[in-house]
Symmetry: C2
Amino acid sequence: MESVITEAVKLLDEAGDSALTFRSLASRLGGGVGSIYWYVSGKEELIERAADHVMTQVLRDTEQFEDGDAIEDLRGTAVALFEAVADRPWLGSYFMRSAALRPSSLRYFERVGQHMMRLGLDPLASFNAASAVVGYVIGIAADLGHQPPEEVVDRTVTREEYFARTVGDWRDLDPEEWPFLHSIVDVFATHDDTEQFLAGLDLILAGLRIQAGS
Amino acid sequence: MESVITEAVKLLDEAGDSALTFRSLASRLGGGVGSIYWYVSGKEELIERAADHVMTQVLRDTEQFEDGDAIEDLRGTAVALFEAVADRPWLGSYFMRSAALRPSSLRYFERVGQHMMRLGLDPLASFNAASAVVGYVIGIAADLGHQPPEEVVDRTVTREEYFARTVGDWRDLDPEEWPFLHSIVDVFATHDDTEQFLAGLDLILAGLRIQAGS
DNA sequence: GATAAAAATAGAACAATGTTCGATAACATG
DNA sequence: CATGTTATCGAACATTGTTCTATTTTTATC
């Protein structure tokens, strides 16, 4: 009954948000429902600790970025968090729900901020910029990584079929009324989530470079 | 028993996510629990329709931005959504949970995209940029607008006291280990959420200007 | 106006969930 | 061994979304 947190993370990763119930977790641990409460005050803390568990790993992965180009290090730091959140929808919704100032996420914020300091920005600018980067990462990752609708989860429809159907729907819309959607439907059909994330991140970083230069 | 959706929105706005239960909604409408199911297929659709309700208003508010400077219009369009989401935590989590391709949010995406087209970006760049802007707005808004912890909701602690406590916690951290947090704690103590949002948005827009120029 | 069909309402019953609680067991320490 | 701490368990409870069936109200038709 020791590894409550690690087992919770496994459950979340395998089957998503809704799969984590005290009963399913208990049976997986081979114990009773009530026992979990000895390790954890409630579901809130359970998810919190699970999130911390993952964030600790992210923090380890981003330690390497220290002495390169500040912007490049910033980039790597952002990508690491993005990847962690993108394939963990539950992490994204946790970040959204709960304040981002829990120890581990605060550490991440600090790390991003330290890169900002290397750019020579004043406190206000670096605070705003760090918030923007972290907010963007979480926002996009949570958006891209969210659970697909029921059909896909039920396996009655594959992810690809669902995606293809969306593309088809867009193509069927009135081109007069939806000129933009029509203009991008082809690139959307072949787009890659990570590349999309990076493109937006580079916009922010480009803006940052300007601000740092002046 | 007509205004199920509008009453649901009121409930959500007044007391947040967790306050919207079928029973509370029913008693507010002066009817029975089961009746709601005649208008709505389930809770999923209820929230979806509530979100649509708000998004329709946002779309109306952003109609004005059409013939100004493309970047400025983009800015106004983004701010309108930000404000709507920032004081509606439930809207943010809805966006995160459910795909952003419901009719009303798709319309918003289209509108942002049309501004991108005016910048003369190629399809891939405009798709990425539109996604970045929308993702940033939702991400930051959801982050800033999330429900404060229990104490504040319980009214045992005011929002200001809670904020002040956070600032105090930061000041107490080891300055060696948390140089960034210490450098920004003063601007954090007096910061304004909307300004913070705008600062980040301007980074993206600055990056966009460069991209549009080349 | 009567009657039938449709629209709308109501609330009891159900299943799933987080949580509380008191009763034990296992274990360490003197 | 005695005793207190650590750890486990599952029954009971309250709160949710949802289903179902019965009933009322409205509308349409003759």
